[in-house]
């Protein structure tokens, strides 16, 4: 009996479009703006530190080792005598860089893959999804360990590993989005107009799944910032003296009983960045979620 029935939801019945409750405008909006504000803070730190920091965050100052926070050194200094505030500012660059490259790479690899799979249901899709399963089985951290051994640990290796490790998630999202879009009648109309697969992918599918992709990107960005910290902790992240929040945390560990605040600053910085991207992702999801949009 099930065989003769259209799949749930796909039936084309004469039926007024279901109306949903409108989005929690206030809630979703506040989340979005809070996220943007936090990210703005991080971006501001990254940009400002490109031109100016109170002290050189990469030098060594034997005369000012482990000073407590004060008027001159807002957050104190570390074991190299570096101004922690300057390092935190400059560290934003690495976090943003790692996030951007990792997410960018993941999107560049995963999205076309997912779209092609989603546009070609059947054997090709099955085949590509098995491939995706395999790459899912190599999580970012595993890749980072292996790549670190092959190419040497460092920012680039970490970014590439994170990017490749995140790509399957993008592929999955892109694929399921594509499959939804492919069942839309405007795609059928485009095909009936003789448009090529490439055109349909670029003009119809990509723009229409971009909402989901942006949400995914935002969430992945937060994950990448956390992952960079974890990699730094394992010694697979950004090498010194370039300041990185993750490594600052790791360095601070040894001074926990001498200068506990050293662990607080990078901890807060990481939390702000991750929180910012997560909130942005939540806010965007509310905004893009088709189910939460009022029709007409």
């Amino acid at each position: 009996m099930t065989a003769s029935e259209p799949q749930a939801g796909s039936a084309t019945k004469p039926r007024p479009a279901p109306r949903r409750t409108p989005p929690e405008r206030a809630g979703g909006g506040a989340t979005l703006w809070a996220g943007l504000a936090l990210i703005g803070l991080v971006v501001l730190a990254a940009v400002v530190s490109a031109f100016w920091t109170p002290f050189d965050p990469e030098g060594v100052f034997p005369d000012s080792i482990l000073l407590s926070p004060g008027a001159e050194h807002l957050f104190g200094t570390d074991s190299f005598g570096r101004d922690v505030f300057s390092s935190i500012l400059r560290g934003a660059q690495i976090s943003l860089l790692v996030g951007t490259v990792a997410v960018g790479l993941a999107a560049v690899l995963g999205v076309p893959f997912g779209i092609v799979a989603g546009m070609n249901p059947g054997r090709l899709d099955q085949f590509m999804m098995r491939g995706n399963d395999i790459s899912l089985a190599f999580p970012a951290l595993l890749l980072a360990i292996i790549f670190g051994a092959i190419f040497g640990a460092g920012t680039v290796t970490a970014m590439v590993a994170l990017g490749i490790g995140t790509a399957p998630a993008f592929a999955l999202i892109a694929r399921s989005g594509t499959m939804q879009i492919m069942s839309r009648e405007y795609v059928q109309a485009a095909r009936a107009s003789g448009k090529s697969g490439l055109f349909i992918g670029m003009r119809h599918v990509l723009p229409n799944i971009s909402g989901m992709l942006i949400v995914q990107a935002s969430v992945s960005f937060g994950i990448a910032v956390l992952a960079e910290a974890a990699l730094s902790y394992l010694g697979l992240g950004t090498p010194p003296p370039t300041p990185s929040w993750g490594r600052m945390l790791q360095d601070a560990q040894g001074y926990l009983f001498i200068e506990p605040l050293l662990i607080v600053w990078p901890g807060i910085a990481i939390a702000i960045a991750v929180l910012g991207f997560n909130l942005l992702g939540d806010g965007l999801r509310d905004r893009f979620d088709p189910k939460m949009q009022v029709k007409r």
Binding site: T2, I134, A137, P139, A230, L249, I272
Partner: protein, 315 residues
Amino acid sequence: MVLVVLRRLGVFATTVIVASVVTFLMLSILPGDAARIALGVQATEADVAAQATAMGLDRPAIVRYLDWFGHVLIGEFGTSTVSRQAIGPEITDALGITVILVLTSVVLALLFAIPFGILTAVRQRKPDGAILSGISQIGVAVPGFLAGMLLVTVFAVTLRWLPAGGWVDPGNDFGGFLEHLILPAIALGSVQGAVLSRYVRSSVLEVMREDFIRTARAKGLGAGRALFRHGLRNAAVPVMTVLGLQIATLLVGAVVIERVFSIPGLGSLLLDKVALRDLPAVQGIVLVLVVFVLLLNFLVDLAFTLIDPRLRSVS
């Protein structure tokens, strides 16, 4: 039916084989001379060359692959070039530890995430819901190892309630095992719990908008009962996907916590073996990890089938 199961297994096997080739290829380009590492800085070139031959490093890649994978198929991971022991038991020991750690933390995470996620979803518009939701947001934003470091500082170093790290076999001393498990499991679980609670929340929110919840309420079930009787099973499906993925990434991801707590788990073993260029061991570990993840995917699929009759039926 049998045929379908066979086909599924066939696909699974092919995936494993491809994964093994990927693993082998990736690791075969590792720089560093395993023979030199084993013998150290004082060894002569001749000794190093002899050692390389003994390790079988001079054979062509394809021969090494077939030799390795052939043995893996019959359950032999080979002999570690470093410990000179069979690799299998080393991996199983470490895997056992990591699996216990990960599963405990996931259970803790679920114990936290399910009530917390539901609460924040149900009380979405209330101030307490917003505050709780904010707490979980911050929980997500804290690196796990930082949580671990703080737990050690407070509960092991300052209060001396619990050990700062290490691992005790449950078979030897169950009490000691629990003592050693609790902090790392909380460290790993707290962040996962925060992440999961986000998913539970959004999944519950999604379900609460479903028509059948409205139907249930029209039957006279209160909002809470409608959610519990009809919503949760439906909400479980997307959460399970995330859970599967989380467990998969945690098998390696736990390495950070293993480091903080000096636990000899699989991730730590991997890092050690990579550092020592113990290739057979590294290959074995990576393959085990990969197969484990593939298997996990398979199990998640299976669980879906159990939960969701739509995937089960077809007469």
